[in-house]
């Protein structure tokens, strides 16, 4: 009679302890984002004052900072650029990393394990080493000063990662179906398209998400290769174009940052475990 109650009490105590201990971490992680959000929604007279509690509104919240972005800056163009770049990068990544991942996982290519690792290792060659020679490549192709330069270079980040990810994914697709299809007269290509592709939709979707989120994490390439104000992706346009001289318009800056940052963060959030699985080599499912 007493035992369930004490067990329940123990559970409650454990939860209270965990919540208490986790609170500082959550505050640490979330506070900057809260601060950005409230800054974006404040009127300027409310923002630049030091005599009042800064974490809440003292004048009515405003959406002015958001509308300003679309009426007075290239913000709309940056969002379009970012989306178009992301679509191109995703297409290029799928068309290259998809087949490569499949070949490495399934077609028993000699030394495929080592090949896969070598491709993956190029993910770790940092942009800071590559951006100067790539700036020459970009200039050579006449792509400087347009976002096409980023369509060209972002796949160098996404292809290695997604090849590795998809290689792992294709290994989990049951082999028998594919062989059965081949016995039934499909060629290798036929088996790939008719049998493997349909069951690989989740893997392909994951690769698309990473093509998007990983290229959003870039700052250096966008900064170095794209100078004209209306050609930049959001992640570069906001920090470089919205700051005029030493004057910071913090309200609209934070509005611009969050409007893009939060959707990406939330999307990435759902796929984070796959990312970690990818880099640690498929453990911890």
């Amino acid at each position: 009679m007493a035992s369930p109650r004490t067990r329940r009490q123990k559970e409650v105590r454990r939860h209270l302890f965990l919540y208490g201990a986790l609170t500082p971490y959550v505050v640490l992680a979330i506070f900057p984002i809260y601060w950005m959000a409230i800054t974006a929604l404040k009127q300027d007279p409310d923002l630049y004052r030091m005599d009042q509690f800064p974490l809440w509104f003292h004048l009515a919240p405003t959406g002015k900072n958001f509308t300003y972005l679309f009426s007075h800056t290239h913000y709309g163009a940056w969002i379009v650029n970012t989306l178009v770049i992301a679509i191109w990068v995703a297409v290029i990544t799928l068309l290259t990393a998809g087949p490569a991942g499949y070949a490495l996982a399934r077609l028993r290519i000699p030394g495929s394990e080592n090949l896969g690792i070598s491709v993956f290792m190029t993910y770790l060659v940092p942009a800071i080493i590559l951006f100067l020679p790539l700036s020459r490549v970009v200039a050579l192709l006449g792509l400087q000063d347009s976002w096409w330069a980023l369509v060209l270079v972002y796949p160098t980040i996404t292809i290695p990662f997604c090849t590795w990810l998809l290689m792992g994914f294709f290994k989990t697709v049951p082999m028998e179906m594919e062989e059965a299809a081949r016995v039934d007269g499909c060629g290798y290509l036929g088996a790939l398209i008719r049998v493997v592709l349909p069951v690989s939709i989740p893997g392909i979707l994951t690769a698309v998400i990473f093509a998007f989120t990983l290229s959003m994490q870039d700052f250096l390439y966008g900064l170095a290769f794209v100078a004209p104000g209306d050609q930049k992706p959001v992640t570069v346009g906001v920090p470089t174009e919205l700051i005029r001289g030493d004057v910071y318009y913090w309200g609209s800056l934070m509005a611009a940052a969050l409007m893009v940052g939060l959707p990406v963060a939330i999307l990435y959030n759902f796929f984070l475990d796959r990312f970690i699985q990818g880099i640690t080599g498929g453990v911890g499912k």
């Binding site: 919540y19 290519i109 800071i128 100067l132 700036s135 290695p160 700052f219 906001v238 800056l253």
Partner: protein
């Protein structure tokens, strides 16, 4: 598996040689029509686009950067001449280079210690199921998933010289005086504070990564093994030290290496917060390479400075390679 397939190459070649020699008389199915050949041909065809892309836009530029580093190339001028190790010598002779090298190493090491501490404790707290665990985990990883240039802007505002919300807190609890008093910290304006401020942003952004990697490691340890160890009468500490740690060590190492590579080569945080200032106090190798290579237009000098990261990164990459190879997928 790897061994047997890799020895398939020469075997296949000799098989082809044999097949060719017979072809003349008996005309069996040619090798290139065989099942294996079709499979391999198809395989290499599928592999080619990705490998070519990476070779052309990572491999070739990497070699090209070594050439650039040994030339006097500039942004405007396309005729560069070979000047040997001159750029490296120039780097070694400049004080800024040493400051940047020291800052880079200091930044990476100090940040890694804090990320390790925060990440480990957080992973332990999130290890066992509790009500609301998924939500808390989702909230805590947001710093890592937010695009880097976006979150650095938020921090720049928090470090504002006058309206810093951090200073407001410190002032409220009485650690510092009011605005204008001598102990009012200018986060991005004082050398030591500026470096700490940059490190703090890196720690904030990446401690969730440490935690999640550790969690992935912990959950990969089969409970049967832990139960078996428990039945054998081991203590928690013993189990942790002799069962858990060895089993998650490879994952830990991979996480650490990834984090180190990205921290060491990151430009965004420092560039957006301080541009390397005040007075080079936060100048790291990536910032220096960017400023010399793009802003000052000295491609060769910039490439040489960026390449200095490579010897720092290479041992880490080799370690990682060996780790990835050792684990069975």
């Amino acid at each position: 598996m790897t061994l047997s397939t890799s020895s398939g190459g020469p075997d296949a070649a000799s098989a082809r040689a044999a097949a060719v020699s017979i072809t003349v008389r008996t005309r069996p199915r040619r090798w290139f029509r065989s099942q294996a050949a079709r499979r391999l041909g198809f395989g290499y065809l599928l592999l080619a686009p990705a490998v070519l892309y990476v070779l052309l836009l990572v491999g070739v530029p990497f070699l090209f950067s070594i050439y650039l580093a040994m030339s006097d190339a500039t942004v405007g001028d396309t005729n560069a001449s070979f000047i040997g190790l001159e750029n490296f010598r120039a780097a070694f002779e400049s004080d800024v280079f040493y400051i940047a090298l020291r800052n880079s190493v200091l930044f990476t090491v100090v940040a890694a210690i804090f990320k390790g501490l925060l990440g480990t404790t957080l992973a332990f707290l999130l290890l066992r199921p509790f009500w609301g665990r998924k939500v808390i985990r989702g909230l805590v990883v947001i710093p890592f998933t937010l695009p880097i240039s976006i979150s650095v802007l938020g921090w720049k505002w928090m470090y504002d010289s006058q309206f810093s919300v951090i200073n407001w807190f410190l002032s409220q609890i009485g650690i510092i005086g009011r605005y204008g008093s001598a102990d009012w910290p200018i986060w991005l304006g004082q050398p030591l504070l500026a470096l700490s401020a940059c490190i703090a942003v890196n720690v904030w952004r990446n401690f969730p990564f440490s935690a999640i990697v550790l969690l992935a490691g912990f959950t990969s340890v089969p409970t049967e093994i832990l139960d078996a160890a428990r039945v054998d009468g081991t203590s928690f500490v013993q189990r942790f030290r002799h069962v858990v740690v060895p089993m998650i060590a490879p994952i830990l190492l991979i996480g650490l290496l990834f984090d180190t590579v990205f921290t060491l080569s990151d430009l965004g945080v420092v560039y957006l917060l301080t541009q390397g200032g005040p007075a080079n106090a936060t100048k790291t190798l990536p910032v220096l390479a960017y400023q010399v290579g793009i802003q000052a237009g000295a491609l060769g000098r910039g490439a040489a400075i960026a390449l200095f990261l490579f010897p720092l990164l290479l041992p880490l990459m080799i370690l990682l390679l060996r780790n990835l190879k050792r684990r069975e997928y």
